[in-house]
Structure formats: structure tokens, C-alpha cells
Symmetry: C2
Subunit: 373 residues, 2 copies
């Protein structure tokens, strides 16, 4: 599976692994793939610590950092770029009704509620105000050879800044028109993410979306995302013209991940029909396990989810509870994952997964060869 | 793309084309694929005429017939198997409010309303009572080598009857558990249909669903369905372990199809984001172009769609209008199609499509070969 992108980035396999865990980043890159650290949960100071740790452990392998800058926030044209001012502005926009409803859901499930400052701070990673310092931190680390934006086209001055430092810019999209905007803005790698994906996703399935994006932005390389958790699925992405695979859900199910055993058990048990696109955590449609939290925000008689980033100021307490009280919060936890969750039955070593995917890929392409007689 | 299934069925390419048009069945089979006639719209007498015509024009090539027998109808445990009795039973179950609402939508768009007997009769193809005579008609035609059921597992006695006549039984599914039921009942070919598909479909995307179904029913051969409209997409299906592709949307856009120019123009214009899974036509979730009919049945203040087969007794008048008054009914027409509609830009000859798909397939597998160095 050595595509031109492998040579460009100096990697063995075009397997990009999005994860919030530094250990997974290191394990993937050392196994021949390309680890990408999701920075959204970190302050610039925390991110610096994470990247230093990765630098120390990853050897000569490259890796990436993923930030989140949505194109716009509805009804929030005048947001301040100073994080402290912005935080106060946002807090003032969250209706008390929503906070009370969220607390009630948690209380009904016996989950202790602590809406601490840390939870509120976490949401601020979803803005240009906080992403820009994250990018500056990342650029101080030479092994960070790619910076990806998970939502929307990165601002042009940010793209120029990253290019000036000799790094590559990637950006996710869910439609050919978004892909066009990315390419026009100078994005180097477009990640086409089908509706099967975990986290923020569109509604068009991967099998349809990928070739449309490939055709739209050629010769810009495209990564296939959404529904990839095997070598056969990587082969499908490459057959559809992509130059690699952007994967996420699988890395929740590796030994190096920090996910709790309770959450991993939930993923191992779930079928592909147990996920839902829900606005109940981030305010934008994101795929996750369906549970009593997501159902509560769907019921017509209850408050509707707020937009991004406000909804996370409400759901942040449930996310915090997921980590602090995994046993109690199992029915209301935030379990972002793609439909590929139905394939997972166990927790494996990262290197085992990569090796298996390579074997499966070769088996798949071998089968295709046999059909060509 | 010569899979073992090609040899089993005596065809050149494992491209299965579902269509309501006999001309397309003939054109596909003569081009090396396998045409499948959707029988749901025909009485047994009409079906006999269609199959005779196909037999005369298809040469020595085989073809298939697709019927619709849902597993169950909610709240209708005691339906009568006599079509005339059943029709009266069903008519009595349709609320006047729904009929009036449907007529109002059409009237608001200037579409003449004629709820004729023919429209009501058409719905009866969705039942075992009417599908059984269709199967008997099909079995009188030796070139019909496959009978497929579009919804649910066919009744065991029907499977036995078809096997006794030396024909193959296929059935669609949207989950591994449905696939298991098919295989256990003796279905010979399982069609795994992802949520991208036009018409009735589930929610799990093809890239995730296909390999799960392959693993579930092996060694029973699986066809990939949902989102296939190119040779690259066929290659993806085969890379994921399927032995062929079941396609539908593409055949609405060929010269041999009877679809109106108005409908074909709507498909050519639509993007992959312009479809919706809606219960507004058949009562079960089916993918179609979003328009003012589908939106009207979504609005919270309006009547909710009935179940299958009752909703079609309401929507039948809109379907009839689609055919009789294509220009007036453009905003309320029934346009079943998959997300792959975003790939369509023009109407082509059927043979041109098949030849293009074969070329595209070879280009895709050639690219994969080049990545293996």
C-alpha cells in the first residue's frame, strides 16, 4: 500500500491514526503509520508537555497534530479572540434551562455533578482563539510534519504560517464543495470523511463520498475516512482513488489508549446499529454510541441542543463524569465512535492492529488479482 | 472481475442491475451483466407479458426477477391471503385524514388528483398474497435463473419451491443478523445493502456493512449494494469480500429506461446530499430525492406516515401523478434513488455504462497493483 503520499511524508504505510492519546501516536508512527494527536482537549501548556513526551519516544518518525476551528458559530459573529473574554461571553449565552436539564439527566443516573472550571475551559479548544496558540506550540516541534483541521477550511493566514514552517496542512470534509474550498485555500491533503465516521460527520456514505472528493480536488491527495477498521477497508479506499486512510475509532480499542475499560467494554459490545448522529455533546452532528443522554436530547418535550461551542459547556459535565465515574455514567457517557465499532471485539496492541491491517490489505488485493484471471 | 459467482450463474461480469424496465434487463444481460426485473408494480398477468418480451429479446442470457415480501406488517397479523379480500381490509385501515392531507399537498402544487383503482392495486405487490403468484409466473420462464426478495427473508416454502425448479434465491439485508436469517433459511445469495442505497435501506454504511455480512454468512456469496455507480465502487465491494455488485440507481439514467426526462433531469441535477431516508411513500424508510412531499410528511404538525403497506395507498396517487403529470408534480414526485445520484450528469446507453464500469474497475485494480510495487 505504498502510495505517493508515503514517499512525500516518509512513512511506510498510509495509515493515519487520529487519537487523543500520546502513547497511541508514538505506537502508530513507530509501526510505520502516521500518528495524529487531537489537541482540542489541551491548553497550549498541556500540549507542549504532550508533544515533548512524543518527541522523546517516537524516534525519527514524523507525526501530526489535529486542531478544531469551525468555519463559523451561528449567531456569534462578534466573538472575541481573547480566550478569557470569549469564555465569559460564551458562559453568558448558555441558558439556565439547559444546564438544569443536563444536571437532571446525570442526577437521575446517580452520577455526581461537578461543573468545574476545567470542564468549561476544555470547550475553548473549539475556537480559533485557542487553536492558534496550539498551532504555534505544534510548529515548535520539527517532527510535527502535518497539522490537520477537523472542521472547516483553516484560515488562510494560518495555512500560510504552517507552510512557512515547512509543514503540511490537512483538513477534513464531508462534501465535494467543502473539499473544493480546502483545495482553493491551499490545503495540501484533503480528508474525505463519510457519514459512517465517529465524531463530527456528514450524511453521505464513504463509498459515495470518497471518489467524488478525489475527482473534485485532483491532483491534491485525498485520505479516506469514515468506516475504516481493517485492511480490506483500506484497500476499498485506495481502489476509490484515495492515497491513504484516516482512522479514529480503532485507536480507542488499543492497549496504549487511555480509554476506560468500561468504555472499551461498551465499544466491544456495540453493533454498527448502536451509533447515532447526535448534536447532544458538541452542538454539531457527531456520531457516538446511542444512550440515555443522546435519547434525552432527542425527545420532543426536552430542550433542544445548543449550537457549537455552547452545547459543550452543557455536556462538558457529562464528559467529565465519563472519565471520573465510568461505572456510574455508563448510560450517559460520551462515547464518540464510528459505525465500524461493530467490528470490534477486543483490545489489541497498536502494532498488532497495524500488522493485521497490512496482512488484510494484501489478502484483499490478492483476491482482486485472482478475479482478473 | 470474474468471481466464482460469474461461473455459477454463467455471466461475464458480476454486475446485477435492478430495474423496473424490461428493456434495461435485456440490455444489461446482453452486455454481460445480470438484469433483474422488479415485479412489484405488475399483476401476474402483466408480469407474464413482460417476461415473455424479455425472453424474446435477451437471447441465451439469464436474468432475474425481484419480488417484495416484508417479514411482517405492524398491527396486521390477520391479513387475508386472498388479494381481493386483503385489498378491502387495507382500504378500511387508511385514515381519511391521511388521504385528505395527501390530496392537499398535490392540490397545493397544481397536480390533478385521481385516486383510481389501479393505484390502490399497485400497492398489493408488497405482500405475500400477491408475490406468490408473481413467483409462479417467473418460474414458468427458464431464463429466470434467480429470484430475489427485496425485504426480509422469503418464506421457507417459497425458497423450497424455487429450489425445486432449479433456480437460485437471493435476498437483501441491511445487517449481519438479517443476513444470518437469510442464510439459515437457505438463501443462496445475500445482498448486503448499505444505507447509501436508493429505495428501502438501513442506516449502516456500505463500507462497514459489506465485510460484516461477508464474514457472517461465508461461504454464501454476498453482493455489494448501496452506493455503487462506477467500476471503482465495484472494486471496493470486491476488495471487501463481496462477489459482485447489486446496483439500481444507475439504471434510472440509461436510454433504455422508461423514466421521464423530468425525473432524469432531477437526478442529473441532484447532489449526494439531496436524498433523504423517508417513510412518506412506502411506510418503511426508503431513500429518495428530498422534495416538498417528503418534507410535508416530516413536519411535526402534519400526519405521520402510516406503516407498510398502508402508506402506499396514500402515496400511490403521488406516484401516479409522477408518471401522468411529470411537469406539474416535479416538487412532489416519488424519486427513489441512492446517494450515488451525485455522480450522475447524463443519460447513457446501458452498454456504455457496463463497458465504462469494466474499464474503471481495471483502472482501480491497476492502481492497487502499482502500490504493491
Amino acid at each position: 500500500m505504498r502510495t505517493p503520499l508515503c514517499d512525500q511524508l516518509g512513512i511506510e504505510f498510509p495509515i493515519f491514526a487520529f487519537t487523543h492519546c500520546r502513547d497511541v501516536v508514538v505506537a502508530v508512527s513507530k509501526a510505520g503509520g502516521f500518528g495524529v494527536l487531537g489537541a482540542v482537549g489541551f491548553t497550549p501548556e498541556q500540549l507542549e508537555i504532550e508533544l515533548n513526551w512524543i518527541d522523546e519516544h517516537i524516534g525519527d518518525h514524523p507525526y501530526g497534530v489535529d486542531i478544531v476551528i469551525p468555519n463559523k458559530y451561528e449567531g456569534m459573529d462578534d466573538v472575541d479572540l481573547d480566550p478569557e473574554v470569549l469564555k465569559k461571553q460564551l458562559n453568558a449565552l448558555v441558558p439556565e434551562e439547559h444546564l438544569e436539564f443536563a444536571k437532571k439527566i446525570l442526577a437521575d443516573h446517580g452520577v455526581p455533578v461537578e461543573h468545574s472550571d476545567e470542564d468549561a475551559l476544555q470547550l475553548l479548544g473549539w475556537t480559533e482563539a485557542t487553536a492558534t496558540p496550539q498551532v504555534e506550540v505544534a510548529l515548535r516541534h520539527p517532527k510535527v510534519t502535518m497539522i490537520a483541521n477537523a472542521l472547516g477550511t483553516p484560515p488562510v493566514d494560518m495555512i500560510a504560517r504552517i507552510h512557512d514552517e515547512g509543514r503540511v496542512v490537512a483538513a477534513l470534509c464531508g462534501s465535494p464543495s467543502q473539499a473544493r474550498k480546502h483545495a482553493d485555500a491551499g490545503v495540501d491533503i484533503v480528508i474525505a470523511q463519510g457519514g459512517e465516521a465517529g465524531g463530527h460527520c456528514g450524511e453521505v456514505g464513504s463509498i459515495v463520498l470518497w471518489p467524488q472528493v478525489v475527482a473534485e480536488v485532483a491532483p491534491v491527495p485525498v485520505l479516506a475516512a469514515g468506516g475504516i477498521g481493517s485492511g480490506q477497508q483500506i484497500a476499498a479506499g485506495l481502489a476509490l482513488g484515495c492515497q491513504g486512510a484516516w482512522t479514529g475509532s480503532q485507536w480507542l480499542m488499543v492497549e496504549e489508549a487511555e480509554n476506560t475499560p468500561v468504555q472499551q467494554a461498551a465499544y466491544a459490545k456495540a453493533s454498527s446499529r448502536d451509533t447515532v448522529r447526535s448534536r447532544s455533546f458538541t452542538g454539531k452532528p457527531a456520531r457516538m454510541l446511542r444512550n440515555e443522554w443522546t435519547e434525552a436530547w432527542e425527545a420532543p418535550e426536552n430542550p433542544k441542543p445548543l449550537g457549537m461551542p455552547l452545547q459543550y459547556m452543557v455536556s462538558g459535565m457529562a464528559v467529565a463524569a465519563t472519565h471520573k465515574y465510568p461505572d456510574q455514567s455508563v448510560d450517559v457517557a460520551f462515547n464518540p465512535v464510528g459505525q465500524v465499532v461493530g467490528q470490534f471485539t477486543k483490545v489489541e496492541k497498536t502494532a498488532t492492529v497495524i500488522a493485521r491491517w497490512v496482512d488484510e490489505y494484501l489478502a484483499a488485493t490478492g483476491a482482486l488479482d485472482s478475479y482478473n484471471g
